[in-house]
């Protein structure tokens, strides 16, 4: 439970930006949308288990379930 998840997501964001730049210079402009989509999908999957952990801990604390 620390900042590694945040830095991981930021790293993926920067990686996508770099990949898009490279694709732009090599002329493969149309691939950038797919790399962006792939990156966002990966990040959302990572955040998904965080959200589920949040909801389980909050609902167990306030016995909302």
């Amino acid at each position: 439970m620390g900042i590694e998840i945040i830095l991981k997501i930021a790293g993926i964001g920067i990686l996508i930006a770099v990949v898009n730049q490279v694709l732009k210079y090599t002329g493969k402009e149309e691939l950038t949308t797919f790399t962006t989509l792939a990156g966002v999908a990966i990040v959302l999957l990572m955040v998904l288990d965080l959200v589920s952990e949040l909801f389980s801990s909050v609902s167990s604390l306030f016995n909302l379930y």
Binding site: G2, I6, I9, G13, I14, V47, L50, L54, L61
Partner: protein, 129 residues
């Protein structure tokens, strides 16, 4: 005390990460903010656990029936979750979604509070008759 320092550290790192990512990939900035706030909330929720155990003890001693306290806890939980997600949508700039979440939260809280209101009214009628 050191938990507070940890939370402040996480918050600062998240803020910096969000600002950096906002230039490169605006849509990812929202997710970074979401991840950071979730981590902080989980830490806080773990801290709150012991507080509510103490409250349970107090409520039992006061003789108030446990059902009311459970409902109050639920309403606090719902209120907090609603506020958390509404702020998240505000950060992302989608104000209309934040208002919808707030409205939904209010309606759910209202539905949960109805039984208590009924009890209260019955007690009042009992007194007046």
């Amino acid at each position: 005390m050191e938990i507070l320092v940890k939370i402040i550290g996480i918050a600062i790192i998240t803020t910096v990460a969000v600002l950096i990512i906002k230039q490169l990939k605006p849509e990812l900035a929202v997710v970074v903010g979401l991840a950071g706030s979730i981590i902080i909330v989980i830490i806080i929720v773990n801290m709150l656990g012991s507080v509510f155990n103490i409250f349970d003890g107090i409520v039992e001693r006061t003789g108030v029936d446990k059902e009311l306290f459970v409902v109050v806890l639920k309403i606090i939980g719902i209120g907090y979750l609603t506020e958390f997600s509404a702020n998240l949508c505000l950060d992302a700039g989608v104000n209309s979604m934040a208002d919808k979440i707030m409205l939904a939260g209010k309606v759910v809280i209202m539905l949960m509070a109805l039984p208590i209101i009924n009890n209260l009214l019955e007690i009042v009628y009992g007194l007046m008759v």
